[in-house]
Amino acid sequence: MKVVLEHLTKRYPNRNKKEGGEVVAVGDFTFEIPDGKLVGLLGPSGCGKSTTLNMISGLTEPTEGKIFFGDDDVTKLPPENRGVGLVFQNYALYPHLTVMKNILFPLQNLKGPDKLTKEEMNARALEAARLVQIEALLDRKPSEMSGGQQQRVAIARALVKMPRVLLLDEPLSNLDARLRLQTREEIRRIQRETGITTVFVTHDQEEAMSISDVIVVMKEGYVQQIDEPQNVYDDPVNLFVAKFLGTPAINVFEGHVAAEQLYIGGEPVLRVTGVPDQDVYVGIRPEGFVPDEKGNFGCGVSRVEVMGRDTSIIAENSACISGQIRAIISSVRKIDKNAASVRFSLLPEKVHLFSKETEERIRFRE
């Protein structure tokens, strides 16, 4: 089932009554989620990703725009008629019911021609339990389980009625780091097995990158970029997206382009063919620095962190506006830890230029 959002908009009255007017929670969101894909909605808190999800589920009514499931316009349809499964951040399991009864709950709501017999219900519930691998826990109550197990039950409950679309609202953020890793792989596996179109909301870019077929990056209600995870990372459309994706974060500098030459702190660091003369922001990924004695880019070294697989050089440069510079080098290269300064040459594909006024990406040829 593909899901189409057309100019989807949600405005709320301003909570601060003195200012009045309206706040845009989601603005003009247009996007087609292909059938059977897993889409990650990514952005900082308050960017409108949960509102978008709630509009897809039907819990929130959009101010403008339309939502289609396949060819059906479901914009004004109440949630129970949409056939969506929703998984919450805090699981929202019924605390007084056992796991089995929690999973059975949605099935027992079915009426009319959809009504199931007891045996059918039990079979479906067991099937869902098997899918998320909690068959052994069916008689437990939610309070007797770990967070990861509870989240699996929640997913089983969402899947048991065979929804057309599965929606996951920050499903991993109440889990500890190890469980988070494990559960996210689990979700990926379940999604692949069932082939249900899935929307996944998160503020954790690593999570979104690792699990999604397509990432939608949002900021303050507006979509910034929609693309496959690697493309969003390699080819960000603006400074916000560049900064939001990647750990460690991208290093940002003030720079200047003159005669197709990029200058940072007065040093010519890179040829940027096709860029008119102007002031720019320069984003350089940590892996874009190559230690090179003849390199054009010089920095003072604060310290060197050895992390086994690779080495981080923490450096300083007066043009850097994102705190300290962090460069990641393969540990095969030996670095003099006591050096006071270091010179780098830059990998052009890891260097992104952004307009100083609009913060939009400026592309260049090498």
Binding site: L59, E80, N90, A92, P95, H96, P106
Partner: protein, 296 residues
Amino acid sequence: MGKSKYKGWLYLLPAIVFLAVFMVYPLVDVLVYSAEEGYSFASQTYTGTGLFNYSYVLHDPYFLQAVKNTFLIVIITVPLSTGFALLISLALTSIPKLKNLFQTIYFLPYVTNTLAVGLVFMILFKPTFYTDGMVNLLIKFFGGQAVDFIEGPYWAKMFVMCFYTIWVVLPFKILILTSALASVDQNLYNAAKIDGTSKSRTFFRITLPMISPMLFYLIITGFIGAFKAYSDEVALFGTNLNVAGMNTIVGYVYDMLYSSGGGYPSYASAAAIMLFVIVLTITCINLMVSRRSVHY
């Protein structure tokens, strides 16, 4: 170090002194009183010990009337007020606007002097020489017959009594239930909604179990409170409740203690102890039931 070890007792001293004099000693004393036969308040002497006081109270028609009244009040007002409070709280929770305003209005009776407002109820329900009173005029308007609710037939008096009691106890129950409802995780409802759960199923399978601890708390305190009904009765029917036929067990205790004849603390004690036993029994039953029905 030796001195500071007992410092805690020093802080406790005032509380302990007051509790000892006004709670522990009276507790023992009330048992003693209830066993002292023919105790005279004036001379502070008694003729013997035994269970005569209990038997006297149990054969006193005023006491039997008081027991009947009290049980009626309990049986009628506790379920009605709890159910009605639940209904109002559900309504309050489901509306988008004006919730705070309604809540504040509903709470108003809690902070008013029940004796004072009881007087207003009395004039609303009582026909006088000049007028039949508001309520009777309404009854007549709908084709009924005027009744003296304050000094008339028993059922009419019991009706006003229960109506006023419910009016007085609702604010507390509404407050507790609305906050219980508000503390149910909204996502449970969202989850249920997405699964197409019907309104009634949502209520019986989610809402009710989730607020059941608070509901039982209200039922238990409601029983205790209703068994101790007294000042609401005074508010409506005046201090001479025996004559009005609307006395309660607590009223009986006080009347025994402070009658024009100088008081009979022994009878009062016997009646009070019987009340205590009744309340204790009912509370225990309530607790057992709630243990079985509260799911988590």
